[in-house]
């Protein structure tokens, strides 16, 4: 379940509109059904229903009210009746910003290889465009991805609840052939797609980058209960006790690092555009390529061992030996 979303005043008003559209003079729902349907807490649903019932238009000469049975509400049932001549009894339209945010989300989905048929996306965009008004134009474009055979195989395996085998090139540059994995979820993060899978050999959940995977094939082995019971946290990187805390400083050109690593605390502004933050790293030797790619827009401030690993990576790339390397080193 996602974390409970915190609602602000505008969200609450939005929820009131939606609840009215769904409930007025219609069926009875249980509070639980509404919680499940609108993905907000029970408290918010009950509060919104009560607020709707407080509506009072007497002074504007409209005689009537939204009636909520409070005894039923206490028992967990919701229905709203109205006695206005012209009340809100319809589903509200989307604002152009809401329609366009959803449309952009759809474009992103269509960029994921083989997830949705383009035709479906176009049909939905047509519907959202009605909402957006005839004059509105596309505000966000996202490149569409190529079909990925491994992803197709993984999704096939997931929908029939079976394991896969695949070849995988790990971060150390070693390839394992015919690795058995129990697929749990596909996470796409920007451009990179990960398979979150239970690894029976290591007995834990691991993340596998699809661009490092080849020859994925569904097997006939069902996904085990052990795998299904495994906790799947949202973060791709989970830190360990032995991790080193590293301080980084980034220019806007390297802000993506703040999102790739989850900073230990809120980044601090060093100047108008430079940010400083701390991350936890399992092995500082892996930092070299991550930092060096930005060509100076990202800097390691501390500890020295992490700075050194970045320096060594850069010097090595330049074909020079680090000054720290002993002259007789083999």
């Amino acid at each position: 379940m996602p974390d409970e979303i915190k609602l602000d005043d505008t969200d609450r008003f939005n929820l009131m509109l939606a609840l009215t559209g769904l409930l007025v003079d219609g069926e009875e729902y249980t509070v639980e059904e509404l919680v499940d349907h609108f993905k907000v807490s029970k408290k918010e649903i009950v509060k919104a229903v009560k607020m709707i019932s407080f509506t009072d238009l007497m002074k504007s000469n409209q005689d009537g009210s939204y009636e909520v049975n409070y005894d039923d509400l206490d028992d967990g049932f919701v229905s709203i009746k109205y006695t206005f001549n012209e009340a809100i009894d319809e589903v509200p339209r989307l604002s152009s910003r809401q329609a366009s945010a959803l449309a952009a989300g759809l474009v992103y989905l269509s960029s994921l290889p083989g997830l949705v048929e383009n035709q479906e996306i176009q049909e939905l965009q047509r519907i959202l465009a009605i909402e957006d008004g005839p004059e509105k134009k596309k505000r966000v474009l996202i490149e569409t991805g190529d079909r990925d055979n491994d992803l197709v195989a993984i999704r096939e395996a997931m929908s029939s609840g079976v394991c896969i085998t695949c070849d995988y090139l790990n971060l150390k540059g070693e390839t394992t052939i015919g690795r058995l994995l129990e697929p749990l979820r596909v996470d796409s993060q920007g451009e990179v797609i990960y398979l979150r899978a239970w690894c029976p050999a290591n007995k834990n959940v691991r993340s596998f980058r699809l661009d490092r995977m080849r020859n994925a094939k569904p097997t006939s082995d069902p996904i085990t209960q052990e795998a299904l019971d495994a906790e799947l946290v949202d973060e791709i990187y989970t830190s360990a006790e032995t991790d080193t805390v590293v301080t980084l400083e980034v220019d806007p050109e390297a802000y993506s690092l703040i999102f790739d690593f989850k900073p230990v605390e809120e980044p601090e502004a060093v100047s108008k555009s430079v940010k400083r933050f701390k991350i936890k790293v399992g092995d500082v030797r892996n930092l070299g390529r991550v930092i060096a790619r930005f060509g100076g827009a990202a800097r390691v401030i501390a500890p020295e061992i992490a700075r050194q690993s970045v320096r060594d990576f850069a010097l090595n790339a330049l074909g020079e030996r680090s000054s720290n390397t002993p002259k007789d080193a083999e």
Partner: protein, 337 residues
């Protein structure tokens, strides 16, 4: 603050907006501002008969923009014989602009896809708009279901702080200005732009628009914006512009893509290395040589990608790219000395 003698409880903003919406939907003939402030709950208890209600009027103005943000349009009308007299301007909400068209239905599969589209923004720049939109669509009563998209957790990356402001400026056709770092020289210049659309290329967000100083369509990479994005004002008003025809925008998009098609980098990749795998050379049938040709939009972004595979890739051409990769490494080494 609600006055003490009035009513049973302090009316919050959501209730006030709801009462306002109901009232204006009902008032097909429209209501004047004074009538609204006198009668709508949330204003009425603070209204001073014959007194100064400027605080309340400002509250009404703010509420109008809150409603507009959420997609409810308040129409105002000045009776023909009373031009310029804003005391008699009437306000109302047209039912047809308020309601979702009953002829448009969503299937469970479609709602499931829209749910997923909203989730893709979770925590991202447009998450508020996306989640409010999906809340409204759920009022259609359809339950989003589709077995084949279960187990997919998409997430759009927008780490550029300027994304939200630019998106808003595009939706409102507002002229923006920002400080932009030239990747070649490192110089920072203030640019003034009529923003048209944003696009993502190779993981990087760009804004395309009309550069007022250069008098032509230009692309700017959001990650090179080093200031807050500001709105350009004219007197006390935010300056707006007229969005060009879609054909002009499409042409500018195509222009950049054509430019990319003409830019080719030639690389040599170590066989069997990570880079070999990353660029899918292992999937090329009968690959005999170690050459790789790539098209690119932006030389600096490509240089970044190549630096990850430092010892596995050699840049053959363009020379400028090879120099960039090397200069970057030199800078990193110096900064970490």
């Amino acid at each position: 603050m609600a006055s003490k003698e009035n009513d049973d409880f302090d009316l919050g903003k959501p209730e006030r907006l709801f009462n306002l919406t109901c009232t204006l939907l009902y008032a097909t003939e429209g209501l004047t501002k004074n009538q609204i402030l006198q009668t709508v709950r949330g204003y009425d208890n603070e209204y001073k008969e014959g007194g100064n209600n400027s605080t309340l009027e400002r509250k009404f103005e703010r509420d109008k923009s809150s409603l507009r943000e959420i997609g409810i349009r308040i129409e105002s009308e000045i009776p023909k014989h009373e031009d310029e007299n804003n005391q008699v301007t009437t306000y109302r909400i047209k039912r047809e602009s308020f309601s979702w068209p009953t002829s448009v239905k969503l299937t469970p599969r479609q709602l499931a896809l829209l749910n997923l589209a909203a989730e893709a923004w979770a925590g991202g720049s447009l998450s508020t708009d996306a989640s409010r939109g999906i809340t409204k669509l759920r009022a259609l009563g359809v339950v989003g279901q589709s077995s084949d998209i279960i187990g997919i957790a998409p997430k759009i990356h927008t780490f550029e702080p300027s994304f939200k402001d630019i998106d808003f400026a595009i939706s409102e056709s507002q002229v923006i200005s920002f400080d932009y770092r030239n990747p070649k020289t490192g110089d920072i210049q203030t640019r003034t732009l009529q923003p048209w659309l944003m696009r993502q290329i190779a993981g990087a967000w760009l804004v395309l628009g009309f550069d007022e100083a250069k008098q032509e369509a230009r692309n700017f990479m959001l990650r090179r914006i080093v200031s807050k994005v500001g709105l350009v004002t004219e007197g006390r008003e935010v300056r707006t512009f007229e969005m060009p025809d879609q054909s002009i925008i499409d042409a500018a998009v195509k222009d950049l893509d054509d430019h990319a098609k003409s830019q080719i980098a030639v690389l040599k990749v170590t066989q069997g290395s990570e880079a070999w795998f990353r660029y899918e050379l292992d999937l090329v049938p009968n690959k005999k040589d170690n050459k790789l040709q790539l098209n690119y939009h932006d030389l600096y972004v490509l240089a970044e990608q190549l630096r990850e595979y430092a010892d596995q890739i050699e840049v053959v051409e363009p020379k400028e790219l090879a120099t960039l990769v090397e200069l970057g490494f030199r800078k990193v080494a110096d900064l970490h000395a």
